[in-house]
Structure formats: structure tokens, C-alpha cells
């Protein structure tokens, strides 16, 4: 039998392109909106400009009104006059904040574009304040848009936590660590499946409370729950933990592959694995079936946004029968996405980076049935007659695992259903 001839520009089976130009994406500060909900005694203080504060309140919408656990220290003219002054100002602001919020156990100083450009050393500030405010721990990371794109803010935050994690004893038995913020309900579902597989020692990063962060060491095997955690993975590797290569737990197939990676690493036999996952797989199949009719054969276009695009595209193509016109992603991490890229239909156009106007031209020319894009583009494309799914919802809604496979499909099916319903 002859080996198939790969398409000329194929690269791991996909039609890979890189683009440079104007990007229409959030910066890493946006991650604060879901991270503060996840770590319930952490506070996120952005050291930035009025633009940063305005971005977060625009992205966080109504959450802002509940005296949330995030805020912005707005740099003004006087701070720009001299760095020493800015440090004193920061100390004053943080001290006032901690006095007012005694419930806070962990404070993140979050760097922004302006703080990076004026080279305000937030790691030194964090060290200094950690000493002064003990037992409150103060850490720092950058969510600046010159260094991070949207979900990379979570990566930077978790990477900052890794050096602080307790060391697991050398003789400790292998344990499983799930890395990446997941909804509490999803974590609990996974815990039950792992327990059924006989894996009892399962921890999550980030933990729900600052004092409950998992210990790690050479026995730690970790599964990434999100595809955008390159720096976190590097930091975990440095501490001796081992990444389990897997697809991501989006859709039934991805979830099975993801659980399978843990099963193999922990020596779970096939029968136990099948028994632990059978019910979830069956329920996911039931939930997915009705959406397959609506999404089967539909042409889907992804604008780059969260780095979830490749796993989502794989799910839409393989489990729902959609056709992929273009899969845009801000970055393509080839190692972490190896299993995903493998599963994409051969010849899928994957675009890394963005040149907004050119990409909009391609999208208009292709007239896809569904366009997955950010909030800034959704209404303009709808007005041009294209159905859109705004992508930020994919971060705020529980979508991982068997029980959410149907919900995930529904997120994509709803815009099509709505368009069919409307008579106006």
C-alpha cells in the first residue's frame, strides 16, 4: 500500500499559517475575572493605568459591583516622576487594601503594560510586602498585553504559584495533579471518576484556597486541563513533576483521552477504566446526539482568542461533524497540543497569530455558518449576516468533561438555532 502523499504545506497533517499584524484579543489581565472566583481568598491588584481598570470592569461586567477581590492601583503622573515614589505609593495602597480586607490570604500584584514599560519591579515589591504583611503572601505576575494574550494571564498566575508550592516528600507515592482553573463542579466530577479508577490522591492547581495549594515533587504526575499553560508546565517540570501527554477534556473523546493518560500512568487496567468512564461516556453520547443534527456539515471559522480553539475545533469536527474553515489561535503550542493536532482532520487550516483585517476578509469571503470570535467582532459580523458564537463564554462556562459535553455543543448550536427561530 502506498503511503498517502501529504498536502504540500502540511505540517503534522494540518495546513499551518502564521500571521502578523493587528490583533483583536484581550490581554492577560482578563484572567483575573475567573481566577479570583477560583481562589476564594486571593486578591488581584493590577498595577496599571486607567485603561487597565476600564478593561477589567468592561470584561467583568456586573461582578464589579459586589466589592470583588480585584482592583487597580492606577499609576498617575506623580508616580511617573520617580520610581522610588511609585514603590512607596504601592506599599501605601497595598497596606490600606489589606487592612480593609482581612479575609485576604494571598495577594497577587499583577503587572500591566505601563508597569512593564516603566520597569516597576513588582517581584521586589512582592518580596518586600510579603515580609511586612505576613502571614498574607504576596506574589506577582504579569498580565500585560505586551507579554500575555488573554488566557496566558492564567498561565502567568499559576506559574507564579509553582515555586511557592510545598515540596512533597521524596518517598511519597505518585500523585496526580490537575493543572488549570476548572469550575468546582467539574473538579468534583473528575474526582469521582478518578476515585472509581482507583486514583485517590488527586489535587488541583489552583486550589480553592491559598492555604490548600498542592505539594509537588518527583512523584507528581500532572495533566493539563487547559491548553494555554506553557509557563506553568515549564515551572512544574523544573520542580521534578512529569506531564502526562494527553488531549484536552473537551467533548467525550477528549475527556476519554485525557482520563486515559492518567489511567496509563497509574496502571489502571482496561476493565476498571471502562467501568469508571462508561456511564459518563454514555451520557455524553445522549447529550451530543441532538446537536449533531444541527452542527453536522456546518462550516465553522475560529478567530484567535483563548488558545482553546484547536481542541474545540477537534471536538466540533470529530464529535459533531462540523467542517473547519479556519482555526485561528493566538499561539500553537505544538508539544502540549500534539494529540489534538493529530486528531484534526487532515489539511485543516490553522492560523497562528493574527492580522485582523485580512482575517476578516477571509471570513467574509468564506461565509461560514458559524464564526467563533471575540466580543468586539461578534455584532459587526452578525450585521453582515454571519452567525457568531462569542468566545469568552467558553472560558466562563463549565465546558470540560463528560457531563458538560452536551452543554459545550449547545453553546455552538444556540446561535444557529436562534437564527432559525427569528422571523425578523
Amino acid at each position: 500500500m502506498n503511503a498517502p502523499v501529504p498536502p504540500p504545506s502540511a505540517c503534522g497533517g494540518i495546513d499551518f499559517h502564521q500571521e502578523h499584524g493587528q490583533r483583536a484579543v484581550f490581554c492577560g489581565l482578563t484572567g483575573i475575572v475567573w481566577l479570583h472566583r477560583k481562589i476564594q481568598d486571593a486578591f488581584f491588584l493590577v498595577v496599571g493605568s486607567r485603561t487597565c481598570a476600564h478593561l477589567i470592569q468592561s470584561a467583568a461586567g456586573v461582578m464589579i459591583f459586589a466589592e470583588p477581590r480585584f482592583a487597580t492601583a492606577i499609576i498617575d503622573e506623580r508616580d511617573l516622576a520617580g520610581i522610588a515614589d511609585a514603590n512607596e505609593e504601592l506599599d501605601r495602597v497595598v497596606t490600606r487594601l489589606i487592612e480593609r480586607r482581612p479575609d485576604i490570604k494571598l495577594l497577587f500584584l499583577v503587572g500591566s503594560c505601563p508597569s512593564e514599560v516603566i520597569k516597576l519591579d513588582l517581584s521586589r515589591a512582592a518580596q518586600r510586602l510579603s515580609g511586612r504583611l505576613a502571614p498574607v503572601r504576596v506574589l506577582n505576575y504579569s498580565g500585560s498585553g505586551i507579554e500575555t494574550t488573554f488566557t496566558q494571564g492564567e498561565d502567568a498566575c499559576l506559574a507564579a504559584l509553582v515555586p511557592e508550592l510545598p515540596r512533597a516528600p521524596a518517598e511519597a507515592a505518585p500523585s496526580l495533579l490537575i493543572v488549570g482553573a476548572l469550575a468546582d463542579v467539574v473538579e468534583d466530577q473528575f474526582l469521582r471518576i478518578f476515585a472509581a479508577m482507583g486514583i485517590a490522591d488527586v489535587r488541583f492547581l489552583p486550589a480553592r484556597r491559598a492555604g490548600a495549594m498542592p505539594a509537588i515533587g518527583r512523584g507528581t504526575r500532572y495533566l493539563l486541563a487547559q491548553p494555554f499553560l506553557a509557563e506553568t508546565a515549564r515551572a512544574l517540570d523544573e520542580r521534578g513533576a512529569h506531564r502526562l501527554a494527553a488531549p484536552f477534556p473537551l467533548g467525550a473523546e477528549g475527556t476519554t483521552g485525557w482520563l486515559q493518560a492518567a489511567a496509563e500512568a497509574f496502571g489502571v487496567d482496561d476493565t476498571t477504566f471502562a467501568a469508571a468512564t462508561a456511564a459518563g461516556r454514555a451520557r455524553a453520547e445522549t447529550a451530543l446526539a441532538p446537536h449533531r443534527e444541527k452542527l453536522g456539515g456546518k462550516r465553522v471559522f475560529f478567530f484567535p482568542d483563548s488558545q482553546l480553539e484547536v481542541p474545540l475545533a477537534r471536538f466540533l469536527a470529530r464529535e459533531l461533524g462540523a467542517n473547519l474553515v479556519e482555526v485561528g489561535t493566538p499561539y500553537l503550542h505544538r508539544a502540549h497540543l500534539a494529540a489534538e493536532i493529530e486528531m484534526l482532520p487532515a489539511g485543516t487550516r490553522v492560523t497562528e497569530g493574527q492580522s485582523l483585517d485580512d482575517q476578516m476578509d477571509r471570513c467574509r469571503a468564506a461565509r461560514p455558518d458559524l464564526t467563533v470570535c471575540g466580543l468586539g467582532l461578534a455584532n459587526p459580523l452578525e450585521a453582515e449576516g454571519l452567525s457568531t458564537k462569542w468566545s469568552i463564554e467558553l472560558l466562563f462556562t463549565p465546558v470540560q468533561g463528560y457531563e458538560q459535553a452536551g452543554d459545550l455543543a449547545e453553546l455552538f448550536a444556540r446561535p444557529l438555532r436562534r437564527r432559525a427561530l427569528l422571523e425578523v
Binding site: 499584524g21 493587528q22 490583533r23 483583536a24 484579543v25 484581550f26 490581554c27 492577560g28 482578563t30 498595577v47 493605568s49 486607567r50 485603561t51 481598570a53 476600564h54 478593561l55 470592569q57 468592561s58 470584561a59 464589579i64 459591583f65 459586589a66 466589592e67 470583588p68 480585584f70 482592583a71 487597580t72 492601583a73 492606577i74 499609576i75 498617575d76 503622573e77 508616580d79 511617573l80 511609585a86 505609593e89 504601592l90 495602597v93 487594601l97 480593609r100 479575609d103 503594560c113 505601563p114 512593564e116 514599560v117 500585560s144 498585553g145 505586551i146 507579554e147 494574550t149 483585517d357 471575540g374 466580543l375 468586539g376 467582532l377 461578534a378 455584532n379 459587526p380 452578525e382 450585521a383
Partner: protein
Amino acid sequence: MQLTLWTYEGPPHIGAMRVATAMTGLHYVLHAPQGDTYADLLFTMIERRDTRPPVTYTTFRAQDLGRDTAELFKTSVAAAYARFQPQAMIVGASCTAELIQDDPGGLAKALDLPIPVIPLELPAYQKKENWGASETFYRLVRALAGAPAPRTAREPGRRPLCNILGPTALGFRHRDDLIEIRRLLDSLGIDVNVVAPLGASPADLGRLKDADFNVVLYPETARSAAEYLKKNFGQPFTQEVPLGVGATNRFVAEVAALAGVDPEPILDGPGSRLPWYSRSVDSTYLTAKRVFVFGDATHAIGIARMAAGELGFTVVGLGTYGREFAREVRAEAARHGIEALITDDYLDVEAAIRAAAPELVLGTQMERHVAKRLGIPCAVISAPVHVQDFPARYAPQMGFEGANVLFDTLVHPLMMGLEEHLLGMFREDPEFHDGVGPSHLGGNPRAVSAADVPEVLETADPAPATAPILLDEDVVITAAPWAPEAEKELKKIPFFVRGKARSNTEKFARERRLPLITLETLYDAKAHYGR
């Protein structure tokens, strides 16, 4: 460094975007990192605009800082010109690009484009959104209005001609105010030459000078431009902002004087229902309702004056986040015998609302949330805007129809408040508590024991969900206890004044350091506050 959880205004380049997005044929190239592109969603989601704002962001990244961000800026300007073919461009920097000092104006000029390219200097670390909108509009007018010239006298027989200045994209009810004011001007026999920025092209700004005078609807965005036009083209401009019936009458008189027409047929506009609604006896209960007003200066001033003079409310608080107009707001506050609150810190506003203990709050979306926490009825009367501030229906605030809308806006929350009080009052009744089903569904009791029936709450002041903000000392001092017979007497007082009677009595006891509130104290306090 200022600690903030929420900001009334965005940075100044958002103001520039509000002007650029309002106009046609204009393009804005903004030197900014990728995160700043969030601003698109303000226009496409909050205002539901059907196109992207006409903005190109350079979206420079850390790796570009070591190379040539200036070159990136030039490429972006050239590409934006080639693609969009605008009549004119504005160029500038957001907060981060301001720090790297690339000089967008100089770089764009070096490209020698065949269109006007107007540089904007919007200091992001000093100024805010409304200033940015005003400065941008001023710069555009300055650059595009043409060479200064004295105003020529109107030819006999030609209808008077004016420009309407101020409405922008993302403006609070600007869309409908504009329709209302155009209608009003038309009924006075005045033609509209150019409306700007909303709907104007750069070429239209070149025709501004053809008008006899300017109507300034929103001084926050248009006063600087109007002053420029006055100085260079001799065009006078209006001072009165037509919020409320009285202000609309004054506006009509002012405009009529500028145009040399007769205001009489239009005064007290035939479609104006507010005066009668306010005089009708069912409005008696509005008398001296304590109201707290906060917003941009234009709306805060206009609504406060209207609330006092046209609804009979007592203005117990008035403030603005717009420091540029502090003087005007202070003057208006003095008319109400109070001190103005000039702040952009919403925590200060919340503290002031608590201290003033109003019965109605008229503010922004933030005051709506504060009022909700405090259990006070509220209506939103000013930007910053929310998707709810772009209703599908016609809902101006200005002109006679705007006054009708404002009457409803200001009165409905009080009606709702009354309904909530009624619910609170009847909650203890045997056939109305949480344990019984609705009477129209047969009233079958739900399985709730008598112990679970809640006590009636008289003060709608739920504990805040998070750490409270501590205010004046006396707010946290515990009130003297109530003697049983005084408590019993209090319950006989009609529910709608009961909360006030309780707080007045407790304040009275506290000020006199009384150890116990007796029947005597209750009536002493009533006499004291009834004076």
C-alpha cells in the same frame, strides 16, 4: 497611585474613540498594545453598533519594544489609509505608547498622506474620557473648520441655520435627544446645518462655519469646540441644556433669541405632560422626597434643578465625577443649600449617599448598585453607559418629550419602592406570609412551620455581602434599645413612614445619649422633627 475598583470614566483615548466612532469618513490609528482592543466591545456590545469602530490599533508587543515600534506605527497608518481611504485621520497613543514616546503625530506626518492627519495629545496619566472626547472634537474642528472668518449677516428670507454640537457614540441617550432637539428646532423654523460629531464627516466639519449659531447639547464634549467656533467664526452658542420643562423653555427662548424668531408658539410645548402630572393630586406624595443626584455635570445639574422645581423633591446631595465642570456643579448645589460632591471615587459617593439618607437616588449604573445595596429606589440618569441605557424605544431626556420621559424615570422607582413596602408590611399577615400559596391558586399552604415565618422588616437595609465600608462614627454606634411599649406604638405608625420614624427617634435618642427609647422619646422626637 489611586486604588480603584471601578471608574466612572475610561482613559482619554476612549473619548477620542467616541468621537471617531460617531463620525463617518474618519479613521483613528491608535498606538497601543493588544489589550487595548477591548475598547471595541464598548461600542459593539454596549451600544450594539453594527460595525467595528474605525480604529486601527498597532498592537505592539514586548518583542517590538526592542526593535522599532515607530516603524510599526508608520506601517499601521499607511495600511489603514490604503484599506479604509478615509477623508481624514486622527493619530495618537494610549497610556502605554505614551510612555515609549514614539511621537505618532510626527511619524504620521512623515508619511505625507494626501489627507488631513490630526495628531492627538491625550495625557493618559492626567486626563480622562470626557476630556479626551472634548479635546479630540476640538482638534478636529480646529483642523477642519477652515480659515477663520467673520460671520456674515443672514440674507433676508433665509431660515436661520444652526449646528448641533456634542452628541457622540456611546453617549447617554444622545441618539434620541438629537431627534427631539431637531424636532424642536424645526418647529421654531430653524434649520440644522451640521450635527457633530455624531454622523458628521470631516468634510461636514468644513461646513460648520455656514451656520448662524451653535447649539451645545453636551458641554462635556462640545464646549471647547463651540468656544473655538465663537472666537474664529463669530458663532454664538447656547448655554442652556434642555433637561426638564423649565430648562427646555429657557433653551427655546435662548435659541429663538439667537435665531431672531418668536419662541412663543413653542414655549410650554403642547406635548408636555410633566406640569399637569406633577400638579395632579396623586403626585402629592412626591413632595419633599429626599433625592441624591450624581452623574456627569450636565445631567447632574439639569436633573437636580428639575427634581426640585418640577417634581417638588428636596435635593439632599448633588455631585459629579467630572472635575472639569466642578465650578458649575458647586453653583447648582449652592442653589439647593448643599455642598457639591466632586469625586471620581465611587466609595466616596457611596459614603455620601449613606450619610444623606435619601429616599431616591438618581445616578449612574454604579449608584444604582449602591442604592440596591442600601435598599433605596434609584433611577439611572447619566453615563457611564450600560446596555440598558440604549433602549429599543424612543427615550430622549432632552426637550419636552425628554421631560415626560424623565417624569416617568424619576417617579417609577418610587412606585416600585412603595410596592416593596407593601409587600414588607403584609408579609406578617396570616394569609400572606411565605408559607402560604398564592390565593388565586387556592392558597394551599406550603410545608413551612410557623417558626419559619419571617419577622417583618421595617428598614430595607440588608447587611452588605462583603466587608462594610465604615463611615461616620455615629453610623456604627449602637442605638439605644426600645422599650416594649414604644416598640408596640411604633408598629401602629403607618408602614410607609415607620422606617423614618424609627431612624429619627433613634437619632434623637442618640444625640441626647438617652439610655432607653420610651413612649415619651418617640413622641418627643416626632415633635422635634415635625417642627
